[in-house]
Subunit: 717 residues, 2 copies
């Protein structure tokens, strides 16, 4: 990933050489000029030569600049411009609003306005349909306020941190890795005199940024002389800042709590009840949709990195000895972009792979993990995520927690780059073990054997009398420590006792070694009949950042097209009906009582069909309609006269897929947003036609074939 | 409300008199016994008389006890028993789970388990349908984390408190009003020797408990010698404890924030954008569903008083000069229990009223408020709330905030008493004004006049030169204060200046009075033309405690009936299909491949019809089915042999309204939960039949009429 382009390296080398040539020639010119003996012709020739070599250097500089741009920054400006159009439209139409705007807002907090709220509700409803209902998952709903003990067990109290530095004079806080990243990027983009070696070093830092320790980050910040961006003051050493919002539960001030950083813990702590609810059988999955919180040091990237967000998480509990999935064949034929760690390490790109093959070859660790990767792919593409800008990237070994068996992120490409939107991890037994240990409640599963199985087990029998004589008051601790030995330890001790007659033994509750003799304990292997296997289930966790998915969906759905007059660019969100905040609009072509009555009849039929719509009856227009579109010239009752093209443009900008225009008392025109094609449908049929295409039972193409197409005054171009 | 029952009062009086008679007679007996002259007969007679009067006293005691019980406590025991059955069923079937149970939980925090989560999702979906979509409301979704300035403006930082007392030795915290309430109730119930006056006093305290100041509460606690319930230690004076969970936003520790105590503030701060989105027109409503937080001092009443809960709130913005509602006629004919403040004050009960009349007579302040009361009634009764245990109680004058125009609570009666579940308040312009003042952003509406209107306005012109001479450096403050006078103040000053030549004037920025002479300011009335009216809208706020509504719904839906054998009581939740966590079940009557295939075909048809169901194919039974019902005897694959009656009983307990039993390859049996009636329906029709009855297009009675009824092996009794 950090591989330095050899061409770029060669150019930097050439540039350095040419710079040396310029310096040498300039020195020569200066020498000639200062030498009294030199004639003008020689001076002129040397100056010409300097000019020439400067031109050559400029040419190399230009090539290098172009290369840096094309290495990831070529489209930076156009990406930025695209993002601005999307964001402007989103903010203007209140898809989102910076929270508490009248108080100058709070970084990293955003509201969903009316259309954004509807999109979010649609995405969550589909998530529930696609995962919870389809897979018979057990959905739960736990509080955000979480007592400290739960998050100590999960490791969040200790490890959910980012490294922070402070401006030593003003106290302003920065993320240490952000400062170093900005420094490296800036150098690489703007400092052309950078040597190839230095460039490679900076690129390497960017590649390993996430893995740097506080000490390493601090050393680099010192080495490069990085200062506070706003004041240029010196910075403190990096230190960890816990990203959880802390609070206190109850009035005593003695019960610390946190706003949950993820919803998963609420499921883990309920494992026992859920397992019981499921008839004490594995596998089963539990799911939860809810708010999570992350007190970012300095939020960036707009809607992508926020301090409060909606997560939708699944914890699929499975026997670690059998991670097959009965429905894997349903997704095995899917083919999409995958980015296994081997491709990443060798500097290659993501490749299209068939999921079944990826699992078959062991690229994906197991069928259940593979099944969820496939289901996530189907989920995202159904929402309207572009499959060519969606990839599943495997975590590198150093990215994964030590306990994880495998982990893949669904990454979606948007103007900010490739963004992790869903994490799909096989977390093995880590979480259940952690809570078992902390709570003392065994979060385990049982497999009853059809017939009892014979197993060989180590039996440790301390001889209490001897131990009492030897250790007196400490006897109990020694006995407990002996009994707690695992099989390996016990067999080692047995070997020592047999060969040497005694063994050194560390008793942690005493904090020291003691000597155990062969009179003090007997260790044997015995055959026992077991009726069941008791084990901690593994958990496979697909975790969805709903806000990130929605933002990427906005970018993937957005396009512009010229207005009819060609004088402006009109914005369109091409949301599929599933996601669209409103499924259709109804309006009479002209102000006319008959048409209005028809519009109301259609509206009633749409309600009965369960289709969300907006009706625009001019008389009530301004208070009830869809295109609450607040550009100043439209105010003051002038909307009755708004051209049909403008009306369509406004609904296109909200992503409304279908528009019904009442232009007769028997049939109406139905217009599709993206093709702008129109069909004529009988008034009594129109609600069911819209229902069919929005429910996905038919396509627009089916309708074009079934109904007469139409072009008339109600067309927008 | 605090009226003491005159009969009870008379009984207490009689009891006190009888006690005096007992004491007197006992004294007489003692005297006789100690007197040497008394003969045995006289003593015996006196003892008999004592016995008689004691018996009379006991009889009065019994009557009083019975009366106390019937005054609200008669059914206490049966209520408690009923609640226990409901709660046991809810916990056993995981409708809810105490949060973080394996860590011994946190008071006031509960999880929704799988069926509870489904009920909640259904209630919220219906809320969205009934309010947001039906009324074209603007739904928003704002963060829970809220900066302090917002909650300072709203008054929560200062006033969102409960009075707390601390055990002076252990530091344990209690709600002061709870302790006083418990003391009074306990005395009234158990201390029969209480005088009628004392009883009246304690009842009065219970009635005015919410209005007592910290000082008054503290005085009563001292007067009655109330100590810490657990330790009997003395208590501190009551002091306010803020109920918001506090946190800190960002890493600096300098930006205090709180977890929002309500969702409403997120709407108010967005008023300007939402008004603009609505085409700058009133009225319109915004809505929000989300989590809210309340750090209760000592949560009681189980699911009713919790520290984190889901609110659904509507803020309907309206011109204060016109609170009519165009759709009021839709609800005007509704008749239900209302409890206006006059009835409360005069000690009467709630009465059935026709909503239109209540608004017409001015009992309800305005049409819009009345409209929402009617819509809330329809919402709650559609969910299954019993209309006879639902009343709308008007706030008493002392309960309402000073700014509120009127306020009604939808109260639902459950085993805990009458519980406030929805508040419907006309909050006038309070909230928007508060945020306008704090933020400096005018949250106002405009009404453009068709023609400019002539209005008379006061014009205040300070004479700066004179003011400068008189007040030097303070001139600016005086000028500003003069200009800020309202019409009334200005006209008073004008009168004083004209009569006395000078006026005393308080300048708040200087903190003192100054003397203004008639040279320093001119005050005139001038006619001006105005093109628009600028005003702060009033807001009418229906606010729904979703968890409370759901809990009351559980109680109203729960009943028991004997099993077929009559040996046990079976639990049923008679949820309407709208609310039911699962709409129907499908299972083959016997293990049989043909039947299983039919069951799968029906399941597919149900999916296509959008009906949530659970299918129970015996082979896969334990891992996929509905009655994940973990009673021990059912485990271990024996479920295949479970009787049909037991299967029904399990689904009844989850409130599943319909069960499809496959008992032939052409038609099936459909059983309705509450009547246990069955009909035979063709396999190809069954999905649409279930859809019709669950969507409410047909009733079960319609189906009974349309399809043959059935009684067979698949009947449960």
């Amino acid at each position: 990933m950090a591989a330095v382009d050899p061409k770029e390296s060669a150019l930097r080398q050439a540039l350095a050489e040419k710079q040396a040539a310029v310096d040498a020639q300039a020195a020569a010119v200066r020498e000639l000029k200062s030498a009294k003996s030199a004639d003008q012709a020689a001076i002129d020739a040397a100056v010409e030569a300097l000019k020439a070599v400067k031109l050559e250097k400029a040419s190399i500089e230009e090539q290098l600049q172009a290369m840096i741009k094309s290495n990831g920054n070529d489209t930076a400006a156009s990406r930025e411009a695209f993002r601005q159009s999307v964001i402007n439209t989103l903010e203007r139409r209140l898809f989102y609003i910076p929270s508490f705007k009248i108080y100058r807002g709070v970084a990293g907090l955003y509201d969903y306005g009316p259309p954004g709220c509807a999109v979010k509700a649609n995405v969550l409803a589909f998530w529930r349909q696609h995962f919870v209902l389809e897979e018979n998952m057990l959905e739960v709903d736990c509080p955000c306020v979480t007592p400290e003990i739960v998050l100590k067990a999960s490791g969040h109290v200790e490890k959910f941190t980012d490294l922070m530095v402070k401006d030593e004079k003003t106290g302003t806080c920065y993320r240490a890795d952000h400062l170093l990243k900005d420094f490296c990027k800036d150098k690489l983009e703007k400092d052309l005199s950078l040597s190839a070696e230095k460039a490679a070093e900076l690129k390497h830092i960017l590649a390993v940024l996430d893995d740097l320790s506080a000490e390493e980050l601090g050393a680099k910040i010192k080495e490069y002389g990085i200062t506070a961006p706003d004041t240029k003051n010196p910075l403190s050493d990096p230190y960890p800042f816990n990203l959880m919002f802390q609070t206190s539960i109850g009035p005593s001030g003695l019960s610390p709590g946190y706003m949950r950083p993820e919803t998963a813990q609420g499921i883990f702590v309920n494992f026992k009840d859920l397992y019981y609810y499921n008839g004490n059988k594995l596998p089963f999955a539990a799911a939860q949709i809810g708010q999570a919180f992350r007190n970012e040091i300095s939020p960036r990237q707009g809607l992508l990195r926020v301090r409060e967000f909606t997560l939708a998480e699944i914890e699929h509990f499975v026997d670690p000895q059998d991670k097959s999935h009965p429905k894997f064949t349903d997704v095995a034929q899917l083919e999409f972009l995958m980015f296994p760690r081997e491709l990443q390490v060798s500097g290659q790109s993501a490749q299209k792979m068939i999921l079944g093959e990826a699992v078959g070859k062991g690229i994906v660790n197991n069928e259940t993990l593979g099944y969820f990767i496939g289901r996530v792919y189907l989920f995202l593409t159904s929402l309207g995520i572009d499959k060519d800008r969606l990839r599943f990237r495997q975590h590198l070994a150093n990215e994964m927690a030590h306990y994880a068996a495998d982990c893949w992120d669904a990454e979606i490409e948007c103007s900010y780059g490739w963004i992790e939107c869903v994490g799909i991890a096989d977390r093995s037994a880590y979480d259940l073990r952690a809570h078992t240990e902390k709570s003392g409640v065994a979060l385990v599963a049982h497999e009853k054997f059809a017939e009892p199985k014979e197993v060989e087990k180590v039996v440790i029998t301390p001889v209490k009398k001897e131990l009492g004589l030897a250790f007196k008051g400490s006897q109990k601790m020694v006995v407990e420590a002996l009994e707690a030995m695992d099989e390996k330890e016990a067999m080692e001790m047995k070997a020592n006792l047999e060969s040497k007659g005694e063994a050194e033994f560390y008793v942690c509750t005493l904090g020291k070694n003691v000597t155990i003799t062969n009179k003090m304990v007997t260790i044997t292997k015995e055959k026992k009949k077991e009726h069941q296997r008791v084990f901690t289930p593994s958990v496979i966790e697909p975790s969805f950042g709903i806000g990130r998915i929605i933002y990427c969906l906005y970018e993937h759905s957005f396009y512009t097209r010229p207005s009819k007059a060609g004088d402006e660019q009109l914005n369109v969100f091409c949301f599929p009906p599933l996601v669209a905040p409103i499924k259709c609009t109804v309006f009479p072509l002209v102000q006319n009582q008959q048409y209005e009555e028809v519009a109301k009849r259609i509206a009633k039929a749409l309600t009965a069909a369960g289709i969300s719509y907006k009706i625009d009856i001019t008389a009530q227009l301004v208070s009830t309609l869809l295109w609450r579109y607040p550009s100043v010239e439209d105010m003051g009752g002038r909307e009755g006269g708004t051209s049909i093209g403008k009306r369509y443009a406004r609904t296109d900008e909200l992503g409304v897929p279908f528009a019904i225009t009442v232009d007769s008392t028997t049939s109406v025109t139905v217009r599709e947003r993206d093709s702008k094609q129109q069909i004529r449908v009988n008034i009594d049929e129109v609600a069911s036609v819209v229902k069919e295409v929005t429910d996905g039972q038919s396509t627009w193409a089916d309708m074009l074939w079934k109904y007469p197409t139409h072009s008339s005054a109600s067309a927008d171009d």
